[in-house]
């Protein structure tokens, strides 16, 4: 594979297959399922090829592609991959085939639309991780919106319309202001360098004027516009209200992608753009974001504890976990930032797995209420084992991935912000409380409902979908260096240390 178009191959393969599928007859559902899976596997292979050829010692973007797009405006089609984007691209490319396998049986209507939406969504996500031109980044960022709207709105649960519209309006509310900020950034570049550009590398050389106060400080305003878009996506505490709805109403595959990678785009954006482009504003906003992160950690855990619906519980646990990521990012040391990045991957794996497994039980019983279950361990041993593994990874048992990420975040942040770390640690305890009590109520206890006596264990497809996630949870837990070493140089470059 020549490296000069490897990134385009990663980004565009899903969309091209998706658009070709549009021309196929609706009834060819087998074709659509297989084509979707094949496209996502080819994308995964391309991503793996990038991993194989990636040079971890090099902090700069690799496999760089640059093509003219709108030269007079300073817009070009630029893709590039550093260690940070590499691990996130790998996560995305890994989760996508899992999504297709997991929805093999559960999506029965409009399979074509589902597969096409998923493939377009994948292109949007991968493109946003790999774009190194701000305009291109924005295009990919918004490209994710419509497929996700369809995935929630067409194949979702009962309150899907409400959830889908809320998702769209929340996301757009943030991102449209980011568009103005991107335009303004290019204006600043022109003012300082006399050259129109939207290239990320060019923006890194700027020093955006800080000014006085908030409303007269370009840097603060731009930081706020970017941070709002990303904070909604993460989601950071008071902006999280779209998340439980979207996660709960989305079909299983949509929830996996939403929790697994879409949320990461928020934290990725904070790290990629806010941190290096607006360093003084970042410093000024750190206390605010640390406070919000700690609130999210504790509040999310408490709300998750109170849930009766398993999917909602997992959704609120995302608020907690993403709170840890924000904490690590804003604490700003190498260890905490690396931990945050690893935690983004971990959360993608464990929460993706949990949504997958909740989807399995929902397909069997058409209920997700915790009280409808109990004693499943006796009926579904394999399923119980998988769920337990994902749970333990999620609450940070040493030897599994969650532990490494949380540990790095907390130790990396402690020297600078001990109070925040102490408070955040209570979130870990609460995490164990709500997850273990979930496991207890669903899997142990006695079987109360007769329907639960004859539930089938994991099918080979479901097991196949779970297996790579389970393997990675253990792999990262035992040898996190495989992934941490990939991103270290890039993280050092972004945090400037």
């Amino acid at each position: 594979m020549p490296t000069d178009s490897l990134l385009s191959a990663i980004v565009l393969t899903p969309a091209v297959v998706g658009l070709l599928l549009l021309a196929t007859p609706r009834a060819a559902q087998r074709l659509h399922r297989w084509a979707g899976l094949a496209a996502s596997l080819v994308t995964l292979a391309f991503a793996a090829a990038a991993w194989a050829q990636f040079d971890p010692a090099n902090a700069a973007f690799q496999f760089v592609e640059k093509r003219q797009w709108l030269p007079t405006v300073g817009i070009s089609y630029r893709l590039g991959m550093d260690g940070i984007s590499l691990v996130l691209v790998l996560l995305t490319a890994l989760l996508q085939p899992i999504v297709f396998v997991s929805s093999w049986k559960s999506i029965r209507e409009n399979v074509k639309g589902y597969v096409v939406s998923m493939l377009l969504l994948e292109t949007g996500i991968l493109g946003a991780f790999l774009a190194t031109d701000l305009f291109l980044f924005y295009v990919f960022w918004e490209l994710m919106l419509v497929p996700m709207y369809f995935i929630i709105g067409v194949w979702g649960g009962e309150r899907r319309i409400y959830a889908a519209v809320k998702f769209v309006l929340f996301t757009l509310a943030g991102s449209l202001l980011m568009l103005v900020a991107i335009i303004y950034l290019s204006f600043v570049h022109h003012a300082q360098v006399r050259l129109w550009s939207f290239a990320y590398e060019d923006m890194l050389t700027l020093s955006v004027p800080m000014g006085q106060g908030f409303w007269h400080s370009p840097q603060m305003l731009l930081f706020a516009a970017f941070a709002l878009a990303f904070a909604i996506k993460v989601p950071v505490f008071p902006l999280h209200t779209w998340l439980p709805d979207a996660h709960t109403e989305a079909p299983t595959g949509g929830s996996i992608i939403l929790a697994g990678v879409l949320l990461k785009l928020g934290t990725y954006g904070l790290l990629r753009f806010n941190r290096p482009l607006f360093p003084q504003a970042w410093a000024a906003a750190t206390p605010l974001f640390l406070t919000l992160a700690v609130i999210a950690i504790i509040y999310g855990a408490l709300v998750a504890w109170a849930q009766r619906d398993m999917k909602k519980l997992v959704a609120y646990s995302s608020v907690t976990h993403m709170g840890f990521v924000v904490l690590g990012l804003f604490a700003g040391t190498l260890a905490s930032t690396q931990g945050a990045l690893l935690q983004m991957i971990n959360h993608g794996l464990s929460t993706g797995a949990l949504f997958l497994l909740v989807g399995v039980i929902y397909d069997r019983r058409h209920t997700r209420l915790i009280e409808d279950f109990g004693g499943l361990a006796a009926v579904m041993p394999l399923y119980t084992g998988a769920f337990l593994l994902a749970t333990l990874a999620s609450i940070g048992l040493p030897g599994l991935n969650g532990f490494v990420g949380e540990f790095l975040i907390l130790t990396g942040s402690f020297a600078r912000y001990p109070a925040a770390v102490v408070l955040a640690t209570t979130g870990i305890v609460l995490g164990a409380v709500y997850m273990l009590s979930l496991v207890q109520r669903v899997f142990w206890n006695a079987i109360t409902q007769p329907e639960n006596r004859s539930l089938a264990d994991l099918t080979w497809q479901e097991a196949l979908a779970f297996a790579p996630l389970g393997v990675l949870m253990i792999w990262i837990g035992v040898h996190p260096g495989t992934f941490l070493s990939l991103s270290e140089a890039a993280v050092r470059r972004l945090i400037g240390g």
Partner: protein
Amino acid sequence: MNPSDLIAILPELVLVLAGGILVLADAFAPGLRPRFGVFAALSTVAALALRWTTPLPGAVWSGALSVDALARFVDTYVLAALLLVVAMADPYLARTRARFGEFYGLVLWSATGAMTLAKADHLLVVFVGLELLSISLYVLNAFHCDSALSLEAGWKYLVVGAFASALLLFGIALLYGATGTFSLRATARVIGERSFAGDPLLLGALALLLAGFGFKLALVPFHAWAPDVYQGSPTPVTAFLSVVPKGVVLIALARAVASLTPTAISPRWVTLLATVAVGSQVLGNLVAIAQRDLKRMLAYSGIAHMGYALVGLVAFGFDGLTGVLVYLAAYTFMNIAAFAVVSAFSENEDEPHLINDLAGQGWQRPFLSFALALSMLSLAGIPPTVGFVAKFLVFRAAVNGGMAWLAVVGVINSLVSVFFYVRVIYYLYMKPLPQRAPSYSEPLAVRLVAGACALAIVLLGMLPAWVLGAGELAARTLVR
């Protein structure tokens, strides 16, 4: 008169002649009626080909017309819109039993008026072009002469249009009083020679010109006619009405602004224009939310879109004008796609075109629904559609012109608009098909128009360099 003058207006001549032939043929050879659409389309293509093969001499007819790159851009835009409208009109007229030569003749003449207006460098030619455009449209609006709604639309457009023309004419008179010339070039020279700051005659002229043009553009506060006229007119006419007059009037306004330099006359000009732009965006988007009829919703959306496009004129300069031009091109495709689908999704012209009736159609008629959904996303400004590129360019012009607040207001309005555009998609794809689903026809021509527009929306959205380059070339004729 020298031959180059005639060559420069060959496309217009072709359209005028073709229109005349069609009207006469209707009287003397009514058996040819089914071929009229093809003939009109072919003459449009011929006019387009002539415009791109004849030279661009600049000022012709003693400086009354400017046949320049800007004129070619606008002609292309008008003729492309005309071609799409003629194509979608034919099955529509056949279905409503109104396949008459007059329809095509009037549409062609109306387009001729539009093309004249866009090149006019002389205020009286501006007026003549505008009247030719408008008077043809008054008749077309009322073309379903047995439908009360259509007649109402014709009447409303006539009364409001006549009022607007009067304002415009009065403005032209004041301008003549102040500068002693009708020629825009000469006006620019006179204004450049001595200061007219605060000159009462010119202030009045500016206000009247803006009001006259504002009516045609349906800008707030001159917008009230739009919903009724959009709703009542035959759908192909609405499609034409929603893109062609607005585009050329914006260009006429741009030509006037470039030569009058209103900022030198009154510092409040920018505030005034920005207020009109913001008002149109806010009102158009807020009221569109409440609409249940698609055509009325598109009318309010059109008000808002002219508000966005006007942002480019507020910022003016090279960026602003380029933005306006790209905006017009984008707006043509997305609006005509929407109206083409609307014309297919209606059983009977007298019935309202309710958004409710789209329920579940997305899976029933995938092709047209996809085109409609795409046009809605483009109108909402979501990438990778051309609507996004257009909005991006005008907002960029505002930011670069030191008016970032206009861009912020614009994106907030876009957010509001997403609500009602996305609702159409919601009805198409997420609502179940009703028990008794309406049976709609889906003629080939409409499929072609919708498909062509959808393709343009996506291709120009992903590869905007082509339309941007043409827009930049055209903008350079007015500003450096």
